[in-house]
């Protein structure tokens, strides 16, 4: 057997233990990503992770690839510059649901519209973990958080639906329970050109779980295991029931040309060395 890359190539083992809570699925997602990179055999120096600010946003602390850790909600905007600055890079944006969809919602919809070649991996734990468990735009209606002590009054975004509507090329949803599926989607998203979104439903026993799911970390994990549902079963539900589950699987996989391809087609000189330096 040829020497294959191992997740450890991408994982900063000496930074262990992870800062995340017991039962937080961030570590599982991190493993899935590093495993996917190893499977794809992309050398670490050809990868840039652009992380948001939040619990999941600390993921760069544990990675050996190039990394950018910027400001809350802007991971995709930084990633856009990173990608356009060096189109050969694999640029992966790691964002919490708050990062991607609250403060960062605008960058999300525009990156999808442009179909810029970035892989967005969203840890959706239904809350702002880092700041202590306030509601986020993915907190399900009427669930409790520190800023919705009797229940949140806003319906949640369908992250994948939004990505699809705006034009993402590849959109998939899984959970940190479904680790092998999750890794598969991540690998597919990284390989594919264009704006590709993997939404990983994640646990936050400390905040979301504590206020909404009786029991411990295991119950929190069971909860997310159960709300993920593949299309075959999902479509048999009536509309009311559908609201309780999240469709999992590869939801979109299409072939829109990515931003840079179109840009270079329209501005042909951009792809050559052009008029050259200093002329």
């Amino acid at each position: 057997m040829a020497v294959k890359l191992n997740y450890r190539e991408y994982f900063k083992e000496e930074a262990l233990p992870l800062m995340w809570c017991a039962g937080c699925g961030n570590g599982i997602l991190l493993r899935a990503i590093t495993d996917a990179l190893a499977d794809l055999e992309i050398p670490p120096h050809q990868v840039v992770v652009s992380t948001g600010i939040g619990c999941w946003g600390k993921a760069d602390d544990y990675m050996t690839t190039h990394a950018f850790h910027g400001s809350h909600g802007r991971a995709l905007a930084f990633a856009t510059g990173i990608k356009l600055g060096n189109p050969d890079l694999h640029v992966i944006a790691l964002m919490g649901d708050g990062d991607a969809l609250a403060i960062g919602g605008n960058h999300f919809i525009h990156a999808a519209r442009r179909n810029i070649d970035i892989t967005a991996i969203i840890s959706n734990n239904f809350t702002y973990g880092m700041t202590g468990g306030q509601y986020s735009p993915t907190t399900p209606l009427s669930y409790k958080t520190t800023t919705s002590p009797v229940g949140v009054a806003e319906p949640a975004f369908d992250v994948c639906g939004l990505a699809e509507e705006c034009g993402a090329n590849y959109v998939a949803r899984s959970t940190v329970y479904h680790v092998t599926q999750l890794k598969r989607f991540i690998a597919a998203a990284i390989q594919k050109k264009g704006f590709n979104v993997v939404e990983a439903i994640n646990t936050c026993p400390t905040h979301f779980g504590r206020r909404n799911i009786p029991g411990d970390t295991v119950e929190m994990m069971k909860y997310i295991k159960d709300i993920g549902m593949p299309r075959s079963r999902f479509e048999k539900l009536d509309e009311e029931e559908k609201n309780k589950y999240l469709l999992t699987g590869e939801l979109v996989n299409r072939e829109r040309p990515d931003f840079l391809s179109v840009y270079r087609e329209i501005n042909p000189a951009a792809s050559e060395s052009g008029r050259g330096e200093g002329k």
Binding site: K12, A15, P44, H45, Q46, V48, S50, I53, K58, D60, D61, T64, T65, H66, A67, F68, H69, G70, S71, R74, A77, F78, A79, T80, G81, I82, K83, L84, G85, N86, D88, L89, N106, H107, H110, L260, Y263, N267, P268, A269, A270, E272, S273, G274, R275, G276, E277, G278, K279
Partner: protein, 380 residues
């Protein structure tokens, strides 16, 4: 269109864009705003031919984020805006400063706050350029006063930015941005262009935030085998987060000292008029042109006036201003705002020289009469 040859009538904003291209900028991200948009328009048209990329972002927050990202990928990059957009860039400007990312932010100032007298000139973002982002941080800002300087100083801004690994603010205003003047772009080969210092150690030894003796760390680019970990969180030489006691102090002090220990490379002022004078004007940017004109007017009235023009505004030329104040009988600070640089002048005014304000806030280039009135007041 291609690079303008020979002596040309050119708008300041166009000169800025060409300065950037000649300085080596190959990435522009921006969001249109008057009176800066022509910079974007030239970049959109010209960059592809240079192998560069123009992108119009969804807002100014995204714009500055994108230029920071592209710079870390190894491209000289810049953006241009005006007050409202500059306000929105503040958070990420701090990210750029903290991560030591070379890039240039052009602010073509207009009357604020808010929408104000949109498109009309002002110089009221001077203090904001220094203090607009939260937390302790240094910044470099320089202020052009002519179309020629919009070209020259843009190049200088890139050079300072690459030399010091810091975002540099080119603080123009509607007058310098949208005035047309004759200019001849130099032979690009004749320009002195500074490139960022790259690491010389092998990849495994590279610590992206380990400074050289001049306090600036050599800079790898994303994609290099030298791994670049850039973090907006308190970090040590590795670039990774570090919360040990002392790390923050060390980092903040280095960020400050890498600039303040090298002021001689940054500070630039221009002296105009007689060496000794009854009144010294202190001014910058387009207002300083009016001051030069006023030096002549005052002479006709029999008042001997000279001018200390601040070319670099941040760091503030403390010593130069202090010396000028010590030498003169009175000082008039001429600026197109309600009084910003005058506070800095007073800060270094250890000689208790009387300092007067000539304040232009009518949404136009400050009128010579306003400055003359303050001069007369000063010699009363």
């Amino acid at each position: 269109m291609s690079r303008p040859e020979g002596i040309q009538l050119m708008e300041g904003n166009h000169a800025c864009a060409w300065g950037a291209i000649d300085a080596g900028a190959r990435f522009y991200a921006g969001y249109p705003i008057t009176p800066s948009s022509e910079i974007a328009e030239v970049c959109a048209r010209e960059l592809p031919a240079y192998g560069g990329t123009y992108i119009q972002m969804e807002d100014e927050i995204g714009s500055i984020a994108a230029i920071i990202g592209a710079s870390l990928s190894g491209k000289k990059s810049f953006t241009a805006t005006s007050g409202p957009g500059f306000s929105l860039m503040q958070e990420n400007l701090g990210v750029g400063i903290y991560q030591e990312v070379p890039c240039v932010v052009v602010n073509i100032q207009r009357v604020g706050p808010a929408t104000g007298l949109a498109t009309q000139p002002a110089q009221a973002d001077v203090m904001q350029a220094r203090w607009g982002t939260h937390g302790d941080h240094p910044i470099i800002a320089i202020s052009p006063a002519s179309v020629q300087e919009m070209y020259d100083f843009t190049i200088r801004a890139f050079n300072l930015s690459e030399r010091f690994r810091i975002p540099v603010i080119l603080l123009g205003d509607q007058v310098v941005g949208q005035t047309y003047e004759n200019i001849a772009l130099p032979d690009p080969g004749s320009l002195e262009i500074v490139e960022r210092k790259k690491p010389t150690v092998p990849p495994e030894e590279y610590l992206p935030y380990q400074p050289d003796e001049n306090l600036v760390p050599p800079m790898a680019a994303y994609g290099d085998k030298h791994i670049l970990h850039a973090s907006s969180t308190c970090h040590c030489e590795t670039g990774y987060s570090n919360f040990k006691y002392g790390t923050n102090r060390q980092l903040l002090n280095r960020l400050k000292n890498k600039i303040y220990n090298y002021l001689d490379e940054i500070i630039d002022v221009e002296y105009f008029g007689p060496e000794k004078a009854e009144v010294t004007l202190v001014s910058f940017g387009s207002a300083s042109r009016v001051c030069k004109y006023v030096v002549g007017l005052a002479e006709k009235e029999g008042i001997k006036v000279n001018l200390l023009r601040l070319i670099s505004i941040w760091p503030f030329p403390d010593r130069e201003v202090q010396e000028a104040l010590a030498k003169t009988g009175a000082c008039v600070v001429a600026e197109m705002n309600q009084g910003q640089v005058i506070n800095e002048v007073n800060r270094v005014n250890t000689t208790n020289t009387p300092v007067h304000l000539a304040s232009g806030i009518d949404g136009e280039l400050i009128r010579p009469e306003i400055i003359m009135a303050s001069i007369r007041e000063a010699v009363k």
